[in-house]
Symmetry: C2
Subunit: 339 residues, 2 copies
């Protein structure tokens, strides 16, 4: 039988098509914890546009930046920010180093162990406790102190380490973005040093990709050794309008994707959404009391102490085409420890 | 002829040896502008130790960080820092935007064009002029303004753009370090935004790897568009003890190699030299009046307005085993434009 010389080419072509199809089918779903829906679709569409060099919204690989708020966006922030829990637990050590604080508020109340009184501490009180928890130690010592705390502390409701309470869908989104050339940054109102202590292990995010609230550092020689000492004094608040500023300080580029959950993130979302090329702004709505918490607009309590998802933010999101992630509808699984 | 079965193996081995030798010979010298001597040798030894996994001083690839001061370390800082020249040239535009400044010192003196009077401006005056040059524009506008200036301004002695006055040996050292897994950062007392405007093109250093003095930024909406506006107000001085602090803010890791030229770099050098693993601290000594400048200890003028290489720094260097780079002896070529 004489075969047409193109036969071989046809066979090869067929094989290639089959292989390509096979690959697509075999490739594991990069977002298995996300339900089909507009939130998941927005992420996939964003990545497709940004990485398609034929698209008008293409973004060159070295410019691909995605920023993530932490508390309430990457992990649980209820009933209180983990860093505040850490700072409360550290008050005894702080007072041991500075005994005069024992008689001063808010430290006196914390030392009393009176839970009703502690619940009444104001945001300012809590901030003072956090600042005190950062002071008086070197940056290296602080990393160790935070790591030790995370290894033993448990979340009051879930009775698990805080680092277990990271949202599985967000870890997947981060990995998916990284696999598509994005550098992922945490941009948190929490302390930069605090978050650096676990960001690499928990999120795969190295210290240079953590932007956060900064306390004053002083370079000193301690026993002749160069040391960076932490002072209990605020240097930079990485929240609201501070987030784009912190992004400029540490990254010097404008992100195209931003993920947040509160009005502390609004300016970062605006900043990311307002640039050229493909962009994506997403807000986590906590509307899942069963698996996590329901608060903010979902529970008619826009003014809780943490993560204020205000009506204004909701309106802005709608107006600007930002994507609201409903924990209940958009996430098949909230935590990695769920089956 | 019957050959021993090992013959083939021997031939293969011989070929491999020849090829390996051939490769070593063919590999171009990564530091062609450096003369043979202790400075060049220190760089080569440092890289060999840091990258040899069998060495006790091995540093894992993801921790390899090298920091470089800019003025006087990477490019010419005489007769005055390029950024001050820029700021002086920009006074007219600053006064146009804020006419009240025309009657105020030091702006009045600069506008007068009286060179003798300008030479008498104090460091504080110059700093005020630099701060004014940063203010009143967005971060994006400022990048364009600096780029335009660099495209036309010429150095008074060399009559070339400032970006031509980068030291070829330092560019080679940067590339060599990068080829060996180092991330190279600029850590400058100069303005972070100013240096970012050319660092990528001139040094191959992206914006997120530029640490510098920071002026206040304000997030605003201008004509409804999110904007980062620069204020003429200091936020962070990246000099002396501020250098290790700036390194922590932006990098969050301790460098193992640092390059400087003045007492503004001493703490950065201490910080890099004081950690674990292979480390390297180098100081450029300007002792070459013919090809560049001679100042500091080389000229018995330790208190020039720029780049103060004090006797104390010299003593510290000797005591700590830091390597002094003699421009005259250690650099075959200073600028890339030399043959």
């Amino acid at each position: 039988m004489i075969r047409h010389p193109l036969h071989r080419l046809r066979v090869l072509f067929l094989c290639a098509v089959l292989l390509a199809g096979g690959c697509a089918t075999l490739q594991p779903d990069p977002l298995p914890s996300w339900s089909e829906g507009p939130a998941r679709q927005a992420i996939v569409d964003f990545v497709r546009q940004a990485t398609d060099s034929a698209s008008a919204r293409f973004v060159p690989a070295d410019r691909r930046i995605a920023t993530f708020d932490q508390d309430g966006t990457l992990w649980v922030e209820q009933p209180m920010y983990a860093q505040v829990m850490f700072a409360l637990d550290r008050v005894r050590d702080v007072v041991r180093a500075q005994p005069a604080l024992a008689g001063e508020e808010p430290f006196k109340t914390v030392l009393s162990g009176d839970r009703a009184a502690m619940a009444k501490l104001t945001e300012r009180d809590l901030f003072r406790i956090v600042a005190a928890s950062e002071g008086g130690v070197s940056t290296d010592e602080f990393q160790e102190i935070v790591k030790r705390w995370l290894a033993t502390a448990k979340h009051p409701r879930f009775q698990r380490p805080y680092t277990d309470l990271v949202y599985a869908p967000m870890l997947e989104a981060m990995k998916y973005l990284r696999a598509n050339g994005y550098r992922t940054y945490i941009v948190t109102g929490g302390g930069q040093q605090f978050v650096r202590a676990f960001a690499e292990e928990v999120y795969g995010i190295p210290p240079e990709q953590v932007v956060g609230t900064m306390f004053k550092l002083n370079y000193e020689k301690r026993d002749g050794k160069p040391t960076l000492m932490q002072a209990p004094e605020i240097f930079f608040v990485d929240d609201k309008g501070g987030k784009p500023v912190g992004i400029n300080m540490v990254i010097g580029r404008r992100p195209q994707a931003a993920f947040g959950n509160s009005d502390g993130d609004q300016q970062m979302l605006e900043w990311a959404a307002g640039g050229a090329g493909a962009h994506l702004a997403m807000i986590v709505l906590h509307d899942d009391a069963a698996r996590e918490y329901a608060y903010g607009p979902a529970a008619g309590q826009p003014d809780s102490k943490v993560g204020t998802f205000t009506q204004a933010l909701h309106d802005e999101a709608k107006k600007s085409g930002w994507i609201v992630i409903s924990m209940q509808r958009d996430w098949k699984r909230v935590f990695a420890f769920e089956r």
